[in-house]
């Protein structure tokens, strides 16, 4: 069908769909859109179900990649030059301070958003398989968990690069906690640091991990994660809808099904969830999904840019192994662990039982293992797939809530309420003045 195009359309669109049918085609015909389904349920689009946290994580990763490449042109990963090169970024490079602040804020937000994404998936039971065949959501949950851990590592490796006191001592505290692992702890620390203390080797290792190895891993796992979402029939709320309609025993509807590039063998997800593909529940992805994606993209960028303008990225004195700042803190997302280490370190007379093993290794290690295994332990029925706080999963959701609150409280205590000598200070209590030279 030939449609008359305005000049604007010709400028903006290589090809603009004229019908719903063509809109479906457009998804398959476009590289950037090809991973979307042709049609998408309204529930999947809703903010209330997913908060779009996965998308926001991916967008933040995109912002980090773009700003990161810019920073790579200007940053020198050497002990002598790293700190001055960051100072130059702040003082002489056009927009340098802003780009650095955007990178820093996006990194913090990504850690938070990826974590919230995990929390959302748990509370909606979205790691569970529905009734469609060929689903393997538990595995995708594990991929997601791996992505969370890599996000921590990405942030942690980036933390060292400015080579200031904040960086140096945060990595010192962080890697010291890691060295509490039995048998291999010291070796792992040695491997990461490229020696027994933080130096040029560490900086180079962290730099390569941060700029090349870990982003590559994220890209790979993220693609896998997305591919699995499509193979699993989209978001878990689709299964909820299908189940609801099955119970209504509506007659099957003949509908065109779209599959990835049209070459997937066997029955497609959409055949399995055919009942959902009705006009009352679904809308074409183009332009409904793409439009909302654009909105989410712009909102994310706006929030990041606003925060970057108002907060900026800190840069303390140049790293000095001889002077420990007081207090020396790990990056904020590890502060609940640092807090836990302090609280489980017990002094009996002259004897000190170090809490690093419990707080630094056992608790986080156990949590990760338990999280990975949970989809296989959760025996609730398909009725609780894609449902916020399903009745059937009330007890586990409650326990998860307790763990999340515990982590949050310990993070808040570690971040805001711990002062010099790791002493407790209420927000209204001022910290003692930090002495200066002059």
């Amino acid at each position: 069908m030939e449609v008359k195009k305005s000049k604007w359309d010709r400028l903006m669109w290589t090809w603009k769909p004229a019908s719903e049918r063509e809109a479906g085609d457009s998804v398959v015909r476009n590289l950037l859109l090809h991973w979307f389904p042709a049609k998408v349920t309204k529930d999947s689009l809703s903010f209330r179900y997913s908060f779009w946290l996965g998308t926001v994580s991916a967008l933040l990763f995109g912002i980090l990649a773009v700003t990161g490449v810019v920073l790579m042109f200007l940053y020198v990963p050497s002990v002598e030059r790293a700190y001055p090169s960051v100072k130059d970024l702040e003082f002489t490079v056009s927009f340098g301070g802003f780009i650095r602040a955007v990178h820093r804020i996006s990194a913090h937000l990504m850690v938070a958003v990826v974590f919230l994404h995990l929390v959302r998936v748990f509370w909606t039971g979205a790691y569970k398989n529905g009734t469609a065949s060929n689903q393997n959501r538990p595995f995708n949950w594990i991929l997601g968990l791996a992505l969370l851990l890599i996000t921590f590592l990405l942030s942690f490796t980036g933390y060292l690069l400015p080579w200031d006191q904040l960086a140096y001592w945060a990595i010192t505290v962080g890697t010291n906690i890691a060295s509490a692992a039995p048998l291999v702890g010291d070796k792992i620390r040695f491997l990461f640091l490229g020696g027994n203390e933080i130096g040029q080797n560490t900086l180079l290792r962290f730099y390569v991990l941060h700029c090349f190895f870990l982003p590559l891993l994220v890209l790979f796992l993220f693609s896998w994660h997305m591919w699995r979402v499509r193979k699993d029939g989209g978001l878990a709320c689709v299964d909820k809808l299908a189940l609801k309609q099955k119970s209504e025993k509506a007659a099957p509807v003949k509908s065109k099904t779209y599959s990835l590039l049209g070459i997937t063998r066997g029955s497609t997800v959409h055949v399995e969830t055919a009942l959902v593909a009705q006009d009352e529940h679904t809308v074409p992805s183009s332009p409904n999904l793409t439009r909302r994606l654009l909105a989410v993209m712009l909102i994310t960028m706006t929030v990041v840019a606003l925060l970057a303008v108002f907060i900026g990225a800190p840069l303390e004195e140049a790293a000095n192994p001889l002077v420990t700042p007081n207090p020396a803190k790990a990056p904020w997302y590890f502060l609940w662990l640092q807090e836990l280490v302090t609280d489980t370190t017990i002094h009996i007379g002259g004897l000190t039982i170090n809490g690093a093993l419990l707080g630094g290794m056992l608790v986080p290690g156990l949590l990760v293992l338990l999280l990975g295994a949970w989809p296989y332990l959760d025996k609730s029925s398909a009725n609780s797939v894609g449902v916020w706080f399903a009745k059937e999963r009330r007890r586990q959701n409650l326990i998860f809530l307790v763990v999340v609150i515990f982590i949050l409280i310990f993070t808040i205590i570690g971040t805001f309420l711990r002062g010099p000598y790791w002493k407790f200070y209420w927000p209204w209590q001022g910290w003692p003045e930090v002495p200066r030279r002059f």
Partner: protein, 399 residues
């Protein structure tokens, strides 16, 4: 509003906010603080010296890069008048730097911050002067700080940095506070208890690098007011027991000036990584031994001085006159009177008047002898030959 329109609303509002932020950032980048100073300075130059000179005022961020000291100082971005003549009384940041000091410490070799302190890389006043900012422990040692510590001479504090290089001077011209403090160290016998620069007692702490001690490593619990290392030393010099109750350091009855001078001195005692050419009084060179010096003097002033003066000695020794060639390319000239006859079948006089071979080239291009000099050469060479014959005579019987 339906959800489609709501999406569009979000898109438009975010786009507008993003555009505003972009505008703000671009604007912020286009009107840096130093831009105002540069246009003010340009105006000042135009007023005093005319438009032509004003065009010579540099634009953009200025930088003095001193790789030897690892410094990139951008102070001259605003302090534009530093090396201009005629702004001696101009308001800061445009004042001309005193010439006497710059002559000895050229900006290209020293930069600014190595003496004045401050954050050289910074391009805004607050960060650059760093007197009130966090995370920069090396503020500009200028009038602001002097006011805080009630130092009468408002420029005195920067003598702390003079003493980074001039540490081992007994007296440094212009550094009166530091000089006074060094005198006090001698007079009061600080070394009786303290080791300073590797010499002294062990009763008190070693002070050699006390300036490197972190401000957090002092005990401020008995101190009122600002908690700084400098303030601690001021209080401690005035009354040691007030700061450290268990100290055995006596109260020397120091007044404000003494305490200030001494606090400046001890804070200047830091480990430095200075290239050797920056340390006054240190000369690294190839020092000749006393024997070498004696030989040199003998050659320059002895009987054979003529052959040194005319540079013959580069190739020839004249052994009996004490001339030793470093290279010995040509034959010993002590033997020349006989040797020339033997080699060329000509007398010395004849040969020098019309030399052949290598000597023809040397005597026409590098060594020019006037007739008088030629005569002197011949008489000296003959004398040398006589000496040689005598030496051989006296040497033979011994065999």
């Amino acid at each position: 509003m339906n959800w489609k329109n709501r999406d569009w609303a979000w898109i438009y509002w975010s786009a507008v906010v993003l555009l505003l932020i972009t505008g703000y950032i671009v604007w912020d980048n286009m009107v840096p603080e130093w831009g105002d100073y540069q246009s003010d300075f340009k105006e000042l130059v135009a007023q005093r010296f005319g438009q032509a000179r004003a065009k010579q005022v540099p634009a953009g961020i200025q930088q003095v890069w001193v790789p030897q000291l690892g410094r990139a100082d951008r102070c001259t971005t605003c302090h534009l008048g530093v090396s201009w003549k005629g702004f001696e009384n101009a308001p800061e940041p445009f004042r001309t730097h005193s010439k006497a000091i710059l002559d000895k410490h050229p900006i290209a070799q020293y930069g600014c911050t190595v003496c004045h302190g401050g954050q050289g890389q910074a391009t805004d006043e607050r960060s650059a002067h760093a007197t009130m900012v966090e995370h920069w422990e090396d503020p500009v040692l200028g009038a602001d700080l002097a006011k805080t510590y009630l130092v009468k001479n408002r420029e005195a504090l920067l003598q702390i940095n003079c003493n980074q290089c001039h540490r081992y001077d007994h007296e440094t011209k212009g550094a009166d506070y530091i000089n006074y403090a060094k005198q006090l160290v001698q007079q009061k016998g600080c070394r009786a208890c303290h080791t300073i620069n590797g010499r002294g007692g062990m009763v008190g702490p070693n002070l050699t690098y006390i300036g490197d001690q972190s401000p957090e490593q002092y005990d401020y619990s008995r101190m009122n007011g600002v908690k700084t290392a400098f303030a601690w030393h001021l209080a401690h010099f005035k009354e040691p027991k007030a700061m450290v109750s268990t100290t055995v350091m006596p109260n020397f009855g120091f007044g404000s000036k003494e305490a200030q001078a001494l606090a400046m001195l001890v804070l200047s005692w830091k480990k430095t990584n200075l290239p050797v050419e920056y340390i006054p009084g240190v000369k690294v060179g190839d020092v000749p031994s006393p024997e070498e010096l004696a030989k040199e003097k003998q050659m320059e002033t002895g009987e054979g001085a003529f052959f040194v003066k005319k540079t013959c000695f580069i190739c020839h020794s004249v052994s009996t006159l004490g001339i030793e060639s470093a290279t010995n390319i040509g034959p010993d000239l002590a033997n020349a009177a006989a040797d020339v006859q033997a080699r060329f079948g000509r007398t010395l006089e004849d040969f020098l008047a019309a030399p052949t071979g290598t000597m023809a080239v040397v005597l026409s291009t590098q060594i020019h002898l006037t007739p008088e000099e030629r005569a002197e050469a011949i008489s000296k060479l003959k004398a040398a030959y006589q000496l040689k014959l005598e030496q051989e005579k006296t040497a033979r019987p011994r065999k």
